[in-house]
């Protein structure tokens, strides 16, 4: 627990702002319910899943690729026929809290109600108030394409029995208000663990290893958020975390893929106060055992001298123009690789995505440039990508598992199928 002087000072400074204090419980503040609802909808990042690129905001139709097939998000504009315009506050709360639609059918947990269940009634009401102000759009999502027999929603009841822990967030009295606020945001609206945790075979979060890194879909990997020093936020201060969530970049790294969308549509809009709360909570998560080489004795045997030499050759020829010879990147411009937390992620899929498909930095108003990295899919074969990533993960004092050509090939296939993620970001067409 890190209630530093800095955080305390920050708290007092922001006393005038709409601090949702008293633990996580929402209270009446100077925001209207609609404004609060808008803020909470941003915190929940509804827009990223409920909008397709070039489509109307919140009108649904976004294809969520899961191991069980494709699920299309629903229209949550207040359209009476095709949206949720005729849903009452009770209906909406039942959906987010219990995972049950107005018509009594189960929602698939692709919508993260197992996390939204933690949100208070008042907060959920506020979100509905906000959604009711949106432009109603007549749009019906395509039919889901789920493997048999998962088309039968009643099966979700069984899943819920096993894996769904319904119930609003309860403050921990032994923790600070800031910590509780952070816990509420991370485990409620933010639903960070939905991506940042491993899942079991039935797609449920492995709560014993929450926030230790997980599959973010379409061959992206969301790294660990524990206090591990290499594969986690151990070396980041709360200010580093706040800066990352506000702008998508800090001195250690820059966001990529789905997380860039999260920054652009969600976290950049949160108050510095709330981001500090999130950081406070995250910094309190103990480091986990990564199962990687440096947590035990010995090195990853796949990181051979030969691989490092080949990887270095690729690095020198292809990467140094921006990431520089010492792997330090360029200050405020190109992210460092030496000591970078995402470089140490347990699974390398996000790294492979960025190398193959290129990426752009988030470009909020505070950091408008949106510097880009080109894709190398046409230029490097699977072995070269594997070699250079193994090199990057094990040079300059870095230490992480080797990357294999097979891993690269799998991501290359996903890239073929879905295209680069940054092309489908909706953050630029919607604001």
């Amino acid at each position: 627990m890190h209630m530093t002087r800095q955080n305390l000072a920050g708290l007092t400074l922001l006393a005038g702002a709409a601090v949702l204090a008293g633990g996580a419980r929402a209270q009446g503040t100077e925001f209207t319910n609609v404004q609060r609802g808008r803020y909470l909808a941003q915190a929940s990042d509804c827009i990223s899943c409920h909008t397709i690129k070039g489509g109307k905001p919140f009108a649904g139709g976004y294809p969520l690729e899961t191991p069980f097939g494709t699920i299309y998000s629903s229209n949550i504009t207040p359209d009476l026929a095709t949206g949720i315009g005729n849903w009452s506050k009770d209906d909406f709360y039942r959906a987010l809290h219990s995972g049950i639609r107005k018509d009594g059918q189960h929602l698939y947990p692709a919508c993260p109600y197992p996390w939204f269940t933690k949100m208070t009634r008042e907060d959920v009401n506020a979100i509905k108030d906000y959604l009711d102000t949106l432009e109603p759009v007549r749009a019906i999502a395509p039919d889901n394409e789920l493997m048999w027999p998962l088309g039968w929603r009643q099966l979700v009841a069984g899943w819920n029995l096993l894996f769904f822990d319904e119930g609003e967030f309860i403050d921990r009295p032994d923790k600070s208000r800031l910590w509780n606020r952070g816990a509420y945001l991370v485990n409620g609206a933010g639903h960070c663990a939905a991506c940042h945790s491993p899942k079991n075979m039935l797609g449920a979060t492995d709560r014993d290893h929450a926030l230790q890194g997980g599959d973010a879909g379409e061959s992206w990997f969301a790294p660990s958020l524990t206090s591990h020093e290499r594969d986690g936020l151990g070396t980041w201060s709360t200010q580093d975390i706040v800066q990352y969530l506000s702008t998508g970049a800090n001195a250690n790294t820059a966001s990529a893929g789905p997380m860039t969308e999260v920054v652009m549509n969600s976290t950049q809009h949160l108050s510095k106060q709330d981001l500090t709360a999130i950081a406070t909570y995250l910094k309190d998560i103990p480091a986990h055992d990564t199962g990687q080489a440096d947590d035990h004795d010995g090195d990853d045997k796949a990181v051979t001298q030969e691989v490092m030499a080949r990887g270095k050759a690729v690095y020198v020829d292809q990467c140094m123009g921006c990431h520089m010879a010492d792997g330090e990147g360029q200050e405020d411009a190109f992210p460092r690789l030496a000591g970078s937390v995402p470089v140490h992620a347990e699974q390398p899929q996000s790294l492979i995505q960025v190398v193959l498909g290129g990426e752009f930095m988030a470009d909020p108003a505070e950091l408008p440039t949106g510097l880009g990295m080109p894709g190398f899919a046409w230029k490097l074969d699977d072995r070269q990508v594997a070699d250079v990533l193994t090199f990057v993960r094990n040079n300059w004092g870095n230490k992480a598992s080797a990357v294999t050509p097979e891993q690269v090939a799998k991501v290359r296939d996903a890239l073929h199928e879905y295209g680069p993620r940054h092309e489908r970001l909706i953050s630029q067409s919607v604001h």
Binding site: V316, M320, E359, F360, M373, K379, P420, L425
Partner: protein
């Protein structure tokens, strides 16, 4: 104006494909460009290989593995001979031939350069002064065809039926000098302009990235000491007088993987 100006083909092909500004290319030169040139290559090489098959393998024919897209077998022989004089070499010290310059020129002439896609090609046509630059009606492709035929005809006439490629090296050199100096002229065929273009293309082929078919195994770059396209010399720029030690690299990496069509 009755019909819209017919420029659509000319320059819309010049514009990069893809309207989405956030589209980081996963395919280098745009997929459109590659696809376009691949289609042309496939169509053209079918034609080329048919031509090759029809002519058969004569005693002095190019080796059976030579791929031709633009040149006929005769033209190929001329180009191989001429470029080998412009930049002579052997296996130990590669010149134009060893570096694949004929292949480079072949590919260039079958593409937008050969067709002069980017040049202004409206008439009227007039010779003009030296200061007014290229005013020929011929595209590079047309110029090559005409000039090679004319020069070979000249050679056969002057040298007992031998084509340029069949002449001894000294005579080949002399012909090149005469073309260069304007001493060898052919009615209605701008052979001096051809020589200028041939020399330019030969040097390009020797020194361009190997993905264009020439500079094979970085022959040209290794000769002069250019290590290829790299993006960071921050440290090295201050290491005055120190030779650069890294291996040569091209846009497709450290191995020459050949012409990218």
């Amino acid at each position: 104006m009755d019909t819209p100006p017919s420029f659509g083909h000319a320059f819309s092909a010049l514009l990069p494909a893809g309207q989405d500004r956030r589209q980081a290319s996963t395919a280098g030169p745009t997929l459109n460009e590659i696809a376009l040139s691949r289609r042309r290559f496939i169509t053209a090489s079918l034609a080329g290989s048919v031509l090759f098959a029809l002519q058969g393998c004569g005693a002095n024919a190019a080796p059976a593995t030579v791929t031709r897209t633009f040149f006929s077998a005769d033209e190929q022989r001329f180009i191989e001979a001429a470029t080998a004089r412009l930049i002579p070499g052997d296996s130990a010290d590669p010149g134009a031939l060893e570096a694949g310059v004929p292949r480079f020129i072949d590919l260039q002439l079958s593409g937008p350069f050969g067709r002069a896609d980017r040049w202004y090609r409206q008439g009227p046509w007039s010779q003009g002064t030296e200061q007014q630059g290229y005013q020929l009606e011929e595209t590079p492709a047309e110029l090559y065809r005409k000039a090679i035929a004319a020069i070979d005809a000249y050679c056969r006439e002057q040298h007992e039926g031998k084509s340029y490629a069949e002449l001894p090296e000294a005579q080949q050199d002399q012909i090149l000098h005469d073309l260069e100096d304007g001493k060898l002229t052919v009615k209605d065929v701008p052979v001096k302009a051809f020589f200028t273009l041939l020399l330019q293309n030969t040097q390009e082929g020797f020194l361009a990235d190997p993905m264009y078919g020439g500079n094979r195994d970085f022959a040209g770059w290794n000769l002069i000491g250019f290590p290829g396209p790299r993006y960071n010399y921050v440290k090295e720029v201050r290491q005055y007088g120190q030779p650069y030690s890294l291996p040569t690299v091209g846009l497709q990496g450290r191995r020459d993987t050949g012409a990218r069509t």
